[in-house]
Every structure is written in structure tokens, then in C-alpha cells.
Symmetry: C2
Subunit: 161 residues, 2 copies
């Protein structure tokens, strides 16, 4: 192997490892979440402090591990995934209905992978492409806000009957 | 057996049969529906024509047979059960949240049992006692309104992604 080829191979190997590490720290799209348990819903209107971030009607869903966590008093084990499914809220004729989906927002529990954000990975998926849109800073911002509810496992929602 | 006793026994038997028949035409409480698939949600406010009947925030859930029916284009087989879980809508600080549960409203598909109301049984359960509160006339009124959507299997809701 000549030096040039060896150098190129090293660069290629480095890129491959870099991509693999980055991919490993991504939250996966929550395929099938529409069949997960529904936790609760809410409408956030103009004037609310979270309107710019998550205005509209949202529904919270949990996978089986997340539901175990809710039932244990918001103590979530690795593998728990919570979806915040966000729609436009269409207020018309004295009723508020679901408009187009705005985003599929996810918290995924993995204490090793997401150690720097309290064990939770955060992602916002484009509803059309299902691709993640958050960079590391934005994910850290999510976690900054969720730190308000550290005592509830960093999760705002609680399970009701 | 003397005549009086025989007569009393006949009356008792008739009452028993009557109760059994009536019970058979009741819709069962949808135990476990909170783990069923969530179809959609809506908020109905004051001024809406259905406010007196079902004002508040509601979530629609379907059991597995109901979900098959939605996916088939609102063609529901016997055994399909749809729940309309109704809460007070608490509008405060530019957000609408779920208040106390107002009722658990149910449509249950049984083309024989509920032949007089298009094959659907209707019931409104008290959220505290889980007891049905509708009489036959009220159930017929439910069906009268649902007849508007006969072409959608008498079901207003449709499945979205």
C-alpha cells in the first residue's frame, strides 16, 4: 500500500466511525406509535409561552416501556419512548379540530447514549419526511426546559385514568 | 304445588326472562379502552350545536375490530366497539387542558342485538359508577343523529395517519 492510499483509507475509516457515532446518538423515528397507548392531550394557543415551539393540538403516546414508567410514577427505564404528536389546531364554528400534522416530537430513554441530557434523547421529526430536524444545541435546549420537571423523570405529562 | 305458588313461580320466571332480555340488549362497559388505539380528538365549545350533549374535549378510541373497520373505510364488523371519552375542557392561560371526565360514551356493533338502531348499540356511562345512563329512547336519539353518516358506517370519526 502506498502512503497516499493508506492516508485515504485512514480518512475513510475515520469518516465511517464518525458517521456511526453520530447515528448512534440519534433518536430513531417512532415507527408504529399511533398504536401505542394515548396518555393525554392538550391545545396550546397563541399567547402561551410555548406557542412558538409547540403551538397547536398535541397528543402524547407512550410505548410499553414508557407506560410502565408512567405507572411507576414517572420513573422511566431505558427503552422508554414518548411521542408528542403535534397538529395545527383549527378553531372554527365553536369547535377545535386537528389540522395538518406539524411535527412528531420524541423523547427516548437511554441513560448511556444520552448521558449528557439526563438520559433522554430529544428529536423533532418532519411530518412529511420523517427526518430528524434537531441539532445538538436544540436538543440541549429541549432538555433545559424539561429540567424543570426533573423530579418527574424530566417528563411533563402524567398518566391519568 | 298449589295454584297460588305456581302463579307466583310463573311471574318470577317471566320477570327473570324479561331482565335477561333487557340485559342482553345493553352495551357493556368498555373495560381496558385506555389501551385501545387512539383515533382522533376534538374540543367542542359553547355555541356548538352539540355542546349540550358532548361539550368539552373528547378522544375517540377503537378496539382491534373497530380499527379494522376504520382501515376498511368505516365498514365495521360485529364486535367493533368505539369509545368517545369526554372531559371538561379547561381553557386557562392560553391553553386548553383536560378537566374531569364527563362521560364514557360507547358505540358497540352487533347487527342482531341492535338491529333496530342500524346494528349499533349506544350507551353513555357515568364516569364515577361506570353504569349506563341511557334509556331506549335516548339511544334511539343517538342513532337518529348518527344516521346523518350512514354511508360512513354510522360513525362520524375517520382514521387519519
Amino acid at each position: 500500500m502506498n502512503k497516499l492510499f493508506a492516508g485515504a483509507a485512514l480518512v475513510a475509516a475515520t469518516i465511517t466511525v464518525g458517521v456511526a457515532l453520530a447515528a448512534d446518538h440519534k433518536v430513531a423515528y417512532p415507527t408504529g406509535f399511533r398504536a401505542w397507548d394515548h396518555v393525554k392531550s392538550m391545545v396550546i394557543n397563541k399567547g402561551h409561552s410555548l406557542y412558538d415551539a409547540v403551538g397547536g393540538m398535541h397528543h402524547v403516546y407512550g410505548n410499553p416501556k414508557a407506560m410502565q414508567g408512567y405507572k411507576a410514577g414517572n420513573k422511566f427505564a431505558d427503552g422508554a419512548v414518548i411521542v408528542f404528536d403535534l397538529f395545527e389546531a383549527v378553531d372554527k364554528d365553536n369547535a377545535v379540530s386537528e389540522g395538518p400534522r406539524k411535527a412528531v416530537i420524541v423523547m427516548a430513554r437511554d441513560t448511556k447514549k444520552f448521558a449528557t441530557t439526563g438520559g433522554w434523547g430529544y428529536e423533532v421529526f418532519d411530518p412529511k419526511t420523517s427526518k430528524g430536524m434537531l441539532d445538538a444545541k436544540a436538543a440541549a435546549d429541549c432538555h433545559g426546559c424539561h429540567t424543570q420537571v426533573k423530579d418527574s423523570g424530566f417528563v411533563f405529562s402524567k398518566l391519568r385514568d
